[in-house]
């Protein structure tokens, strides 16, 4: 099981990881992405979905999602 799947998300957009004992502040769209990863969606699928939903150029969204994934790795939530 991937580490990120153990994240517990609450309604204040705070995520808690019981094993590591760490808490994280997310914003709503970050929470959506984390939920999507938990559902085993690929980065590409997430990009498609969000670009349909939000008012943002796909190239720009690609940079931001890549950055977000990089940060999850730095935190040890993704490998």
């Amino acid at each position: 099981m991937k580490v990120i799947e153990e994240l517990v998300l609450d309604e204040n957009n705070v995520a808690f990881h019981p094993m590591m004992g760490n808490s994280y502040q997310l914003n709503p769209i970050a929470k959506e992405i984390v939920s999507a990863i938990k559902q085993s969606k690929s980065k590409d699928e997430i990009l498609q979905e969000l670009s349909l939903k939000y008012d943002v150029a796909k190239e720009e969204l690609f940079i931001d999602i890549s950055d977000f994934f990089a940060k999850l790795k730095v935190y040890g939530l993704l490998s």
Binding site: Q25, L26, A30, D55, D67, A70, V74, Y75
Partner: protein, 442 residues
């Protein structure tokens, strides 16, 4: 179906220890939307990015504050604008219009002052290197020559011979004022007797006579008392010279060195706490003159303040070009201005402000300039919200030395805008181009 408003996705680890100690470092943003009523966005849209911006209003306010601090305590004080601090013509003109003479340290600074209409008698010529041909012109035009070394005494004697005149000069001295490092490279030392010996040497030659004594004890002096000691020693030398050589020292010059309100690296109290006020400096100097004056007349007092007068009136606007995530997790921003334009970044923790409020939590970010050089770092670690390409940062204070010492390196030197007292911005120096770079190449 219309799309929803987008926000950059963010995730930040919550550091509870930090959160309780410093309030909310993930939420606070420093924002500057305008300078003297002119919108930051208007400035970059109209004049480009990066761009230096100066405020005439702030220059003049600072000048009046410092001048009043002295003139309210002392009857005869004149400021000399330190050209090297910022010698853009329009900036020099503001100081001359306010009543400053010119303080120059090279032939081109001298020529710049003359070209701006400053008379020779209103130019103080300082520095360790004064080419003889230029020194001669300065003598002929009646400039105030501040002698730095014995070779210069020889040069001046030859010039006196050539012109068939006796030349009035001033001497630069250095001394212990409790400041480390002591600036002992310039002029003649007071404590070991070199200064008095040099005056003796002048009078022995019979071609020069002393009318002034000068010192510049260093820059960014955080201790006003150092000026009291400097003034005391200048006044003691003045008295000895007047007695011994029957001279009349018409003026003393305390140089520059007053600090600006910038935050120095390694000093953790704020500038408001550690930087002496204009009144502190003025009190230290003028009290010492009154206390140690032994002559009938008080000497005229010159100051060559640079940094203190202009630093806070200058801003650098720079735009985000891109960002990346470094392997250690830090966010790295690429800006269009870097250390090529920020000579003082070695000493200052700049005030860095955003052009508007950004959505999202702050995270540790590094600000890098556009140079393809590993040293191009403006800030190692700054808490910033997620910025976009085109976000504008205002960096201050950068009015002193940064423009004159900006490197013509890799990128063109940017344009400079002055916002006048009516709040109207205008270009006072255009951005360089290939012709500037290639100029004089053969």
């Amino acid at each position: 179906m219309s799309k929803q408003k987008y926000e950059i996705p963010t995730i930040n680890k919550i550091d509870f220890a930090m959160a309780s100690k410093y309030g909310s470092p993930v939420k606070s943003q420093k924002i500057r939307t305008e300078i003297d009523g002119v919108k930051i966005s208007e400035l970059t849209e109209k004049f480009g990015s990066p761009i230096f911006v100066f405020s005439q209003k702030q220059i003049e306010e600072k000048y009046h504050t410092l001048h009043n601090a002295f003139s309210s305590r002392y009857p005869d004080v004149t400021f000399g604008w330190s050209y090297k601090t910022n010698y853009l013509n329009e900036i020099c003109k503001i100081y001359h219009d306010l009543g400053s003479v010119a303080e120059v340290v090279s032939e081109f600074e001298y020529q710049k002052a003359r070209a701006l209409g400053v008379e020779g008698k209103d130019i103080i010529f300082n520095g360790p290197y004064k080419p003889k041909a230029d020194l001669k012109i300065a003598v002929e035009e009646g400039a105030k020559i501040h002698v730095d070394n014995l070779f210069e005494i020889n040069d001046l004697e030859e010039i006196a011979e050539e012109l068939g005149i006796k030349i009035p000069v001033a001497i630069r001295i250095n001394m212990d004022t409790g400041i480390y490092p002591q600036w002992s490279r310039f002029g003649f030392n007071f404590e070991n007797g070199d200064a008095l010996d040099a005056v003796e040497r002048m009078y022995a030659g019979g071609k020069l006579y002393l009318t002034g004594i000068h010192s510049h004890i260093g820059t960014f002096m955080l201790d006003a008392n150092a000026y009291r000691l400097a003034t005391m020693k200048i006044m003691q030398l003045k008295e000895r010279v007047e007695r011994k050589f029957n001279a009349e020292i018409a003026y003393i010059d305390l140089g520059g060195g007053f600090a600006s309100k910038s935050n120095l690296k390694g000093i953790y109290q704020s500038a408001e706490v550690v930087v002496p006020t204009a009144d502190d400096y003025a009190e230290a100097i003028t009290n010492a003159i009154y206390e140690f004056n032994k002559s009938e007349n008080l000497p005229k007092l010159y100051l060559e303040t640079g940094r203190h007068l202009i630093d806070e009136a200058g801003y650098l606007l720079t735009s985000v070009w891109g960002h990346k995530r470094f392997p250690d997790g830090k966010k790295g921003y690429i800006l269009d201005a870097g250390v090529n334009l920020l000579y003082t970044s070695t000493w200052y923790n700049f005030n860095i402000e955003l052009d508007k409020r950004y959505e999202g939590d702050n995270e540790a970010s590094m600000l890098n300039g556009p140079l393809c050089m590993n040293i191009d770092i403006i800030e190692e670690n700054l808490m910033l919200p997620p910025l976009d390409r085109g976000s504008v940062l205002t960096i201050s204070p950068v009015g002193a030395y940064n423009y004159t010492q900006a490197m013509q390196f890799i990128r063109y030197k940017p344009a400079v805008v002055l916002i006048d007292k009516e709040g109207t911005p205008r270009v006072i120096k255009e951005v360089d181009d290939l012709a500037t770079i290639n100029y004089k190449e053969v």
